[in-house]
């Protein structure tokens, strides 16, 4: 860990009891869902992390507790530092408070997570799907969602496959 990151990690630990782990000089701090807004406010206002570089998630299916990690990759331009906050969330229908009031990056990135993982961000001003059509069922980036494929149609089975294809027909 870089020297200048140590007080920040200590601060997170003191205020939120955040455990941290290190790998290849990267620091990941674990925060509880209900504390994430407070933690990000602290990092932005006190420690000058101006940029929320990435907001994404990982699915640990079949593990259910925690099933997902919501990941906040933060960058400080003033201090040239990075830190990653991870929010472990339980169960199949997780809820995390929105961070749009702190970083507007969340406006679209949280919609993307809703779209792809089905993680609900409480208080998001515009909770719609962003990349997929409104009527899509399921959340494609979850590990239990099949990769899917399209059956190749040949002249001998064209009609047969066409009948069960899920697109709009006459």
């Amino acid at each position: 860990m870089e020297k200048s990151l140590e007080p920040i990690v200590k601060d997170l630990n003191g205020k939120f009891g955040a455990e941290h782990e290190e790998f290849r000089n990267e620091v990941h701090c674990f925060i509880k869902p209900e504390q994430i807004v407070e933690a990000l406010t602290l990092l932005r206002d006190k420690h000058q992390f101006e940029l929320l570089s990435a907001l994404t998630a990982v699915d640990y299916y079949p593990q259910t507790s925690p099933r997902f990690h919501v990941i906040y990759q933060l960058t400080s331009i003033a201090k040239n530092l990075s830190v990653q906050l991870r929010v472990p969330v339980e169960g199949d229908n997780p809820k995390v408070p929105t961070v749009t009031s702190i970083y507007k990056t969340g406006m679209w990135r949280e919609r993307e997570l809703l779209d792809m993982f089905g993680i609900e961000f409480e208080g998001h001003p515009d909770p719609r799907r962003i990349l997929l059509p409104e009527d899509t069922e399921g959340y494609p980036l979850r590990r239990d969602f099949p990769l899917g494929y399209e059956e190749p149609q040949f002249s001998f089975n064209y009609e047969e496959i066409d009948l069960r294809k899920p697109y709009a027909k006459e």
Binding site: F23, R24, E26, H28, E50, L51, L52, S53, A54, T56, V58, D59, I71, Q73, T75, I77, N80, S82, Q84, Y103, K104, T105, M107, W108, R109, E112, M116, P125, D126, I130, L131, L132, P133, E134, P140, L141, F145, L147, A168, K169, E170
Partner: protein, 409 residues
């Protein structure tokens, strides 16, 4: 025929103003087939006459599930998907992914490969900016720019074809180095480009930089403040045009960028014209880097000798049993990566291109997230077009330099 559903106000009720519901303002659909949306981007505009009250981007028309597909492939094979993300920056995408894999498995890269990567990625940056300059010239009725810029871009694509056999989807940069060494004609081809290009940039600038018609449509249009840009996670030339000196090549040098002498252009105006100037200047700086890297291109291997991750050369397979086994294992099973997560970012022509890679001990990644800069750069669009005219929207959108393949993934 299937019923085509009409767009109703109900769906967007919470996004438009009260006046749209009473019919006082007009909702207008721009795209996804509009020529100035640079791909398949749909913008729903709420207009009061010519003035934009609200802009609601609708993306996802090009969504191909690349992140999901990459999870089903081994680390080497997933790389071909990265070319298809941002098709204006294929080398850069390869680089960001390979650097992430190298960081995850702790793989070294020989010096010659590093320098080759720098040359190719910087050439790619120029090519990407040329497409941006050409198309935004086209949007602002400077038709000839499009032809001129594509002429120079062609020269860069020819260099890519020379080294990789492919013009766009190169997959030339591989984990542990590059695919193979460059041919002998490479140096002459790059030198030729270095000689011609500065004159050509001067030509573009003569046509545009002080052109009164161009200035009228660019200066003071679409001002993005520093605070808004940071809050939305805007990076790259857009952020630098708003007065933030942040370039990952300078701040966190990778590939040995610290040994090259180049400047990072920063302007404070934050308008469309500033973004134009920053990108023009970046092309010149990139060319400087290409020249320096070519001048001190070291000799030596272009791929790591670590056989556990990098396949052996073809010539060894016929004579060495061990090489044959490694070759077979790597292309059938792949190499395992530790159960850990890393985030690695590079500076793409559009901004911070980050890769979050999480391994689970198997040869396939458990999660690949591409933090694509266009996504966040477009998210800020509604903020900067509010209160402007529809014609300005075209100029602003082209100055954000989005690539829809980068956004939709």
């Amino acid at each position: 025929m299937a019923q085509i559903e009409e767009v109703s106000v109900d769906q967007y009720k919470h996004l438009v103003s009260e006046r749209a519901l009473t019919g006082e303002t007009m909702l207008l659909n721009m795209g996804p087939q509009h020529p100035s949306t640079h791909g398949v981007l749909r913008l729903l505009l709420e207009l009061d006459g010519e003035i934009i009250i609200n802009c609601i981007p609708d993306i996802g028309f090009l969504h191909t599930g690349i992140e999901k597909n990459m999870e089903a492939k081994t680390y080497q094979k997933a790389e071909v998907m990265t070319d298809r993300l941002d098709y204006m920056n294929t080398m850069g995408n390869n680089l960001s992914y390979c650097m992430a894999v190298e960081k995850l498995v702790d793989l070294d890269v020989p010096a010659r490969a590093q320098s080759l990567r720098v040359i190719l990625v910087e050439l790619q940056r120029i090519a990407s900016h040329l497409v941006w300059l050409g198309t935004s010239g086209l949007d602002l009725a400077a038709m000839s720019m499009f032809l001129y810029c594509f002429r120079e871009r062609e020269q860069i694509l020819d260099i890519f074809e020379l080294v990789s056999g492919q013009r766009m989807m190169t997959t030339f940069i591989r984990p542990g180095g590059v695919w193979r060494d460059v041919p002998v004609e490479f140096e002459a081809a790059v030198r030729d480009f270095i000689k011609i290009f500065p004159k050509r940039v001067d030509e573009y600038e003569r046509l545009l930089t002080k052109n009164p018609l161009f200035i009228d449509r660019m200066v003071g249009i679409g001002i993005l403040s520093k605070e808004t840009a940071l809050s939305y996670g805007v990076t790259g030339p857009m952020l630098r045009a708003s007065g933030v000196d942040w370039d990952l090549r300078k701040a966190r040098p990778y590939l040995g960028y610290e040994q090259y002498d180049f400047d990072v252009p920063v302007l404070t105006e934050g308008d469309t014209y500033a973004r134009y100037l920053v990108r023009i200047q970046e092309m010149r700086e990139s060319l400087k880097i290409v020249e320096q890297a070519l001048n001190k291109l070291p000799m030596g291997p272009v791929r790591s000798a670590n056989r556990k991750f990098v396949p052996p050369p073809r010539s060894e397979i016929g004579v060495s049993m061990e090489s044959l086994i490694h070759h077979f294992k790597l292309w059938t099973e792949g190499f395992p990566a530790p159960k850990a997560s890393i985030y690695s970012a590079v500076e793409s022509p559009r901004g911070e291109l980050g890769v979050l890679l999480e391994g689970d001990g198997s040869p396939k990644p458990m999660r690949v997230h591409m933090r694509t800069p266009s996504f966040d750069n477009l998210a800020v669009l509604p903020e900067i077009v509010k209160g402007r005219l529809v014609a300005d929207l075209v100029a602003i959108l082209s100055s954000t330099d989005i690539v829809l393949g980068d956004i939709d993934r």
